[in-house]
Amino acid sequence: MRFRPLQLLMLALALACGLLATAPSRAQDGGADIGALVRAMGEASLRELQAIVSDLAATGDPSVTPSLEALAAGNLYVNDETGAVVIMQRNRMYDPVSEEEIAPVGDTDLSRIRVNNSLRRDIGTALGGLTLMSPNTATRMSAARSMLAARSPDNLPLLEEAIAEETDDAVRRMMNAARAVTILGMPDASLEEKRAAIPVVAQSAGREAATILNAALSTAPEELRPSIEASIAGIERDRAVWGAAQNVWFGISLGSVLLLAAIGLAITFGVMGVINMAHGEMVMLGAYTTFVVQEVIRQSAPGLFDYSLAIALPLAFLVTALVGICIERGVIRLLYGRPLETLLATWGISLILQQAVRSIFGPTNKMVSNPSWMSGAFELGGLTITWSRLWIVVFAIVVFVALLLVLKRTALGLQMRAVTQNRRMASAMGIRTPFVDAMTFGLGSGIAGLAGVALSQIDNVSPNLGQGYIIDSFMVVVFGGVGNLWGTLVGAMTLGIANKFLEPYAGAVLAKILILVLIILFIQRRPRGLFALKGRAVEQ
């Protein structure tokens, strides 16, 4: 099993290419047979693979790109029987050299050729050189990025050639940055070249600019120093500003998570006065609904995966609203007029729901994935904004506004408030109190379910999901002022932003403790929360 016929050959090749690599050659017909090298990958160990990759790179032949890309992406497979190496993508096979599609040969076993980090890094560098001229913009971009990371003087001619041909602005900027960084690091580059490189580096080398400039500072000639120093100072200034902006953004995004988690509670607790300890479990049910939706989609319609959240949202709302209505009709209904008892009963409900989910779905984490539009990040000035967070912020605001409209602008909203303020009198005014109660609790629960869909995108989907948010949710609602939706919004955002400004100084643990202490002290100043209702009306 461990016998590898090609082992010796490979070793020899590796040595040879190691030699070759020291003298960069762009020869198109560099001796080694690409097909044989690719085929050798099928049986190679990790170390051998590393050698093969550098051999393939050394050929300089663009036709090695597909196989290397596939290898890095984990799409390169070997046929266990024939030893043939193929690319598998979306259940179709291609030849790794010619990129032609191959008919599947029976149901032979394919096993994936495994790669590790350092191999992927090697492939990245190798591909960088090979793909700088690729017709695909994204590929060129990542090639330019890997050139920037490599900072090797050897790449300079290649880069310059590519810059001349480049049509895309962003890619050209990245290439220029890579070139400037390389030049700045070269001892033998001319003063003029270096001088020109400084602003380019400062502007486009990203976070590393200061480090690169600092490194250059130590070797730079006297004349260049002031200009490098000025650039560094400029970068530091920018960084401070962007750092603050970043904290605000992080705070808003944490605030939106808190808002989402708390807003359902602002109904069941804030409006209805039910101390709803099962609120977290409603959030959890929403997340599990997302899981089930994704599971069904994965099984039956993988193409719809990007819509999974759109499908999960209404379903999660319905499911949790229904559960909420059942809880209201079954238990809470019997407890109006003694709100504190609801603490006891909903605690019991929360235990039961948790255990039920544990029994049905098992105690372990469930797999919920981000659709493509929820993954990754984009840059905004000096900020890295992740899509998932951005969408959650947007979603939180939409939910908030919708809820505000329901409560303030609809007949149901008015009736909800009337019923919870004086149930008997509301009934005597002709309001169907049982219906309104059920709807109110259902609405609060449904909104918790919506929060669950959002939280499933950033957190664990496990039976404990809800427990992690319940304390924060109560804190937000109380801090903002019970019964005031705006209070909940401002409360969530304040706590989020305060937390994120404290965290860099105090650390996550102390920040959290400090926030709690600040809330306690704040309540001494405003005993009924941020947006306290005032006047006689409250005291009755």
Binding site: I275, M277, V331, G337, W347, L351, Q355, V478, P527, G529
Partner: protein, 395 residues
């Protein structure tokens, strides 16, 4: 004057309760130590420890009932006072280990040694003395409650706002005690105790003595609580619970009354924690968990709040249930426990004791019920706009 107040405290119910507790305090240790295993009345060591723990919980629940059931302050952070008392005791027990720790360091507890602490922090000084530790058992929870209460009651933080703030307090303490830097053993807490007052902590006789001490402390707590609630102060507390601002207009200093009840209650909770630690052998930040404090509320509600026996019965029964079910139905016990809570709320709205008392009274003839609050909503609910003072009519 004081004797009069104590005499008033000992109404028929309280005398019975104290009597039973004192009998238990003698009988169970005797059944464990004097009757050899295998004899019908032998009490296994397991039962002694277990009930010792339950009785500590009972003191805690009674303490909570004093503020919640009688004064309308729903504390969701009483576990914090319990834990602080426990830590004070734990620190004493830690110091008692002396050089018998794994690193044989005569002053530093083991966890400090392996985390490279060089010397004992100032706040650990003195805990090698039992009397000092006992003073701290009372002072630390007492002072925290006093300061917290002073701030909160003076600013008129009431109802759910107060409840959630007590929860914030215990949660902040939880996080703080988790930190190794605090010097309380991080999340592992304090453990590996050897001796208390020179007696080996695992010896059957020590265990029995601790049990007896717990039962006697519970009896004393019953007397103290009974004395408070049967006095005019008890009526003022109930008045505050039901109509806080009206009580002010009668000239009562609501904040001082609350502060008194809260501090007394915190001290009781702290003593309960101190008795608990040597019996279970560990104190860790888990005791600050908000869920633990909520459980205390639940024991009290199940037993019947606003009564003296209720919280004791609730604490013992719920915990017996938990002990039994976690072994008998490990996969289903949460359904059973959750179901129990729902059942009690709906069918026994005044808790076990309250409801039975009502049946009893009804069976004996239609007399007015004026011991337990009618409207269980009470003043802690006042900020909840839903508070609806009248019983719900049939719909």
């Amino acid at each position: 004057m004081i004797t009069q107040a104590i005499l008033r405290a000992l109404d028929k119910k309280a005398i019975w309760l104290v009597g039973i507790l004192l009998v238990i305090a003698i009988a169970i240790p005797a059944g464990n130590l004097l009757i050899p295993p295998g004899q019908p009345f032998h009490v296994p060591a397991y039962i002694v420890t277990l009930f010792g723990k339950y009785l500590c919980y009972a003191i805690l629940a009674l303490a909570l009932d004093l503020v919640w059931g009688y004064c309308g302050i729903l504390s969701l952070g009483h576990g914090a006072f319990f834990a602080l008392g426990g830590y004070a005791m734990g620190m004493y027990l830690m110091r008692q280990i002396g050089d018998r720790g794994v690193y044989a360091n005569p002053t530093l507890p083991d966890f400090m040694v392996f985390l490279n602490w060089r010397e004992l922090p100032w706040y650990w000084q003195g805990f090698d003395q039992f009397w000092f530790a006992m003073i701290m058992v009372v002072l630390v929870p007492g002072i925290l409650a006093f300061v917290f209460g002073f701030l909160a009651f003076r600013s008129r933080v009431t109802g759910v706002y107060l409840s959630i703030m007590t929860q914030a307090m215990t949660f902040a303490l939880l996080l703080a005690f988790f930190r190794n830097d605090m010097g309380f053993g991080g999340n592992n807490g304090l453990t590996d105790f050897k001796e208390i007052l020179g007696f080996p902590i695992q010896a059957a006789s020590t265990r029995s003595a601790l049990f007896a001490a717990t039962a006697v402390t519970l009896a004393l707590s019953v007397i103290v609580c009974s004395m408070i609630v049967n006095s005019k102060l008890g009526k003022v507390m109930a008045a505050i619970r039901d109509a806080e601002s009206r009580t002010r207009f009668l000239g009562y200093r609501v904040e001082y009354v609350k502060l008194f009840a809260f501090t007394v209650s915190a001290i009781m909770a702290g003593i309960a924690g101190a008795l608990y630690v040597p019996q279970v052998g560990i104190i860790n930040p888990g005791e600050f968990e908000p869920a633990n404090s909520i459980e205390v509320v639940i024991w009290t509600a199940v037993g019947g709040r606003g009564t003296i026996v209720g919280p004791i019965i609730g604490a013992v029964l719920v915990n017996m249930g938990k002990s039994y079910f976690t072994g008998a139905l490990p996969d289903l016990w949460l359904f059973a426990l959750g179901g129990l809570f729902i059942f009690v709320t709906i069918f026994l709205p005044k808790g076990i004791v309250g409801t039975f008392a009502q049946w009893w009274r009804q069976a004996r003839g239609p007399r007015r019920d004026n011991t337990t609050p009618r409207d269980t909503g009470a003043s802690a609910d006042r900020p909840l706009v839903a508070a609806d003072p009248q019983p719900k009519p049939a719909e």
